[in-house]
Symmetry: D2
Subunit: 354 residues, 4 copies
């Protein structure tokens, strides 16, 4: 079932962009865990729209209302449900798009799948707005992981072909534009604004590292850490690629280069390099679990595009009105962390049973 | 549960490399479907070892014995189970490796996860040998898809950094080395043999295209076609990256370039380009579903590598004995097709309910 | 995961008795189906409290707010979420019960399971209040079944040992006390009031019949109709027994008596009797699917009971304050229908795939 | 998916009565657990046919062959698969039954569901033969439970309306006919033989008690112990009713009678009575988990019965040839234990995560 995921911590996302609310239910959280609401709000703010020129001017308070599962901010062991009201909706923006699907969006495929009954407004259930409750759920799991010494870092690794510099070793969460190199970050921002000025958009890459995971987490074959992270990450709109460790670059290496030699550091088995991204046979080896996620450019652009009138089958030149991010990558960074937190925490609970 | 996958057609893989057998159970197949055993055997042969200098000299008949689920070769509606006996096993090969994990393998992570109780021989349940029953299951689904006009093509897109040329528009299954360009294929084979001669190995990329899928297959958020294919594909050992359509290259494009314009061809809505890999919002748009899979080099190499004695924590120089492929990519090609067939067929059945 | 159920239509229940809200998410409904809100409200009213002397004086509007999944009352193909605010809550009623568990309730077992973090107020997630969103979900499925000619009937078969008379062949939903025999119904009501007057409570049996199901619905072994109905029905609080067709009475029969002979009526294969409850091998045979559900007496009684102080381990005489039904059976009738509707509709969708 | 069950220990049953084999895969068992093969064989022998005049003369060695998941009899952490070859098959026995369904069997419903492609021989996948691999799986879980101090007892509580006497407090597994009262057991056996002599069959009731479970096992709403046991138990052919604790009798009690008062014994919270069967709110309370299972009479009887020719729709008088038990209850006793062990062990593992 497409909007539910997880074996031990099970997440259900619900809502549409212009429905009364979006929200999430998270089952399986241990009882007695305090959720730090201020930290959660700070995490959600990283994803929130309307913060600067790089993102959509649509403003949403994005404050989750917790309906159940918490008693005085502490998990009570039964499902946690939180909703976020959609306050700043303008369904009228989308009326003209019903028969003329936007290129790069789910308009056409949803039309075929749901036979016209889909909620087309703002992308409906396919909207990036669903990442708000994803971040609520992931933000909670991220806190629970931190209590166990597991930290999730991320950064913008590239935008518009411009790559960040330096290694991801510390949090970039405090930065308005989360790159390691501020200089590169400024170049990326300039590229985003240049695209925006032309009514266009750009894509990019987010890098993520999960640090502090013990060895032995993950399961063989279809529930390896790669499988778990992949199924979660591809739940974020606009993701088209995913690689672990050195990923696609490994395909051009020799085994003598790609294999990470084992060593002992401070009495602990580690690997000299970490080309495998901390995962061998789907199971963590105790090194940082690292991966990179490719985002396509925002499909909504002001430039004229070729589409088709689905009723007459005639070509139509389309400009996408509405308020959109010229690049989803900056706001996608916490979404990637949230997805990682959910996948990793689910795997950690799985391990506890054994 | 790590060895089970699928909502409508559910696959369970079982077995270890040197156990009495490996096998699979496939539930949910419609009743009354004939399995073409000769076609299945031909498909399995593409994965079988011992066929040429490029692969391990280990020979296995690899003939599945169907224990149930078929009556005179026709599905009877209840679980299909097939097993493949492990005949040419040499457990002794692996005894010395128990305390000295092989770099790039699951030896160390399995040791931590299972506390030493894992079946270490030949990689146990983590062995590439488990792709034999995967191909049995996928081979059956591939046949069922073909009856509905859905065809799965694949090719070696790169090995050792050498890229294939030309577009994937027809089957390469008849070729001993399945590239579009024979010349490039020969260069790749030379690179494999060169690595082998040095006791080394190489990686590569497999490209796959699912052709003939109707629009409207796949589900939002966590069961989109990307999620479904990803969770399945990362079940193949040595996969470290996956991208759909133009994948990582999309991250460097502008929206006006990456969006696939809609058009009408022969009265049918299509897209002019197919950079999205036939998937919008997780749902097929009727164009070929395309993706590329990065395989790391075979971790078993004859060259000396640095490992650690897990009992003494002292460094050990290790050479991996045994019989191994210097490159897993050629034999991985049908595995990728099998995984794709399973993911796609499961999504097709999901759609039938709606 | 305990609060989620279903393969094709997946229900998640959330909420606690005295949390801000209870609610449900229903995934997998076909797109384009109109929900008759007036019919749904009428169905929910049958479960609502505060209607007469037989039920708790606690009054709740019990009006679901649909947050998503419907556009103008029509399913849009993505998850439907509805919440019901808890307005008439009095958490103070339950404060004194925290260390002294009520016999027959989940107070003690929840205390052990959740280590004291559970929401004890009003039974928390274990409250009968969770049957409100169950009825929202089941009420929707009931409507969808009716469109396919499947009708669900039910009645109070017994209360306090007094049995109803006559066969269940028509709806009793219009009746304030849903028995076939009004005379027997009056006797049952008198028994309920007599128990109430003594500060006591009574149990009873609900009978349900699903009529109009085609043959061939249900799946072998663990997803037979009995399994599906059972897992759903035992989700209603206070259920302690379940039997299909003649159920326990079959155990005392001979095969020549219990086997339902086949016959042909109006060109259709039927059975002469229906002792098997319309289910053979877990699969419907086209006759009414019938079952009976045993409810224990309401555990909350005003009479003094023996409990234990969990801190001092000393015996305590306990009277349960608060507002409670002297018999849950009348309000449980639509809950049984809702559970049946969910189980049956899920099985129907499963069949569509084949 | 109908032949798979379990969240933490996942069981898949496969096979048909007259296919090459039946078998099971069990995923999720902890690594490093020794399986006592002699104890398992003794357990399986209790279910095996051909032991006396009460059961079918069909003889099967019923010895499972373990294909994987065990290394020298110790679980290695990955799926355990065992198969049992069907050696003494006589498919010819069933040929004439294809168009004339046997009353009380799944012949007709399978015909409708699978459109004639089903394996009709011996009931195919619906055969009681599938309880052999169920007992393999359950027998293993039973051993693992015993290591944790959890013991499963059972007995024949009734056959042909004759009830056993005395309480179920010790194992009856050593007895050829497992009742508490040998006298009552003899009366039951006489009733079985009397029915057999008339070409008829009888039903009965099995009682089961799970002793030694800690309080706090089980989950709210749909994964309570009742739900878990129910979904498993109804997977045994011929089961038509299930009740926990005093079950249906509770429906005729008052709350002051049905509520189990809490008390302290030897410093431990217990209940004075155990009418709730050790389950409150779906969660164990530390008292024995008790339930009773109603089995209908064996549907295969030699007496003439009324059926229908599915091709001509004409009535047919049918006698069921073949070799059948005149009462399934004696052989069902270990099956009930196996089902209980699987359900309980799965719930125990769930609890470990919290």
């Amino acid at each position: 079932m497409s909007s539910t995921i997880g074996d031990n911590v099970r997440l259900t996302l619900f809502g549409q962009s212009h429905a009364p609310a979006v929200g999430m239910t998270l089952e399986g959280l241990p009882a007695g865990e305090t959720v730090d609401m201020a930290a959660l709000a700070a995490f959600l703010k990283r994803r929130a729209p309307g913060q600067n020129a790089l993102s959509t001017p649509r403003r949403e308070a994005d404050e989750p209302e917790f309906l159940c599962g918490l008693v005085n901010g502490v998990t009570c062991g039964t499902p946690v449900t939180a909703i976020i009201r959609n306050t700043d909706t303008r369904p009228g923006d989308y009326d003209s798009l019903k028969v003329v699907p936007r290129p790069g969006h789910a308009d056409y495929t949803a039309q075929v799948k749901f036979g016209g009954a889909q909620d087309a407004a703002g992308g409906g259930h396919f909207s990036g707005r669903l990442t708000a409750p994803l971040c609520v759920a992931g933000g909670i799991c991220k806190q629970l992981l931190e209590k166990e010494g597991v930290v999730i870092l991320s950064r913008i690794a590239a935008v518009a072909g411009i790559e960040d510099e330096g290694a991801l070793t510390a949090s970039t969460a405090e930065k308005a534009f989360p790159t390691v190199s501020d200089e590169r970050g400024e170049a990326m921002q300039a590229a985003i604004l240049a695209a925006k000025a032309e009514g266009d958009s750009v894509g990019g890459i987010v890098e993520c590292a999960v640090i502090g995971l013990p060895a032995g987490v993950g399961d063989p074959i279809f529930d390896g850490m790669e499988n778990r992270v992949a199924r979660m990450i591809f739940g974020i709109p606009a993701v088209k690629g995913l690689e672990f460790g050195d990923g696609f670059a490994l395909a051009a290496m020799r085994g003598s280069e790609s294999n990470d030699p084992f060593c002992v550091r401070e009495g602990r088995v580690e690997t000299v390099t970490n080309r495998c991204g901390g995962i061998l046979g789907g199971i963590t080896d105790g090194m940082p679990l690292t991966f990179r996620v490719a985002f396509k450019p925002t499909p909504s652009i002001a430039k004229s595009q070729q589409s088709v009138d689905l009723e007459t089958l005639r070509p139509v030149a389309l400009r996408v009105p509405g308020r959109h991010d010229p690049c989803v990558v900056p706001r996608a960074v916490p979404c990637v962390e949230a997805a990682a937190a959910l996948a990793v925490y689910d795997a950690l609970l799985e391990r506890r049973k054994a």
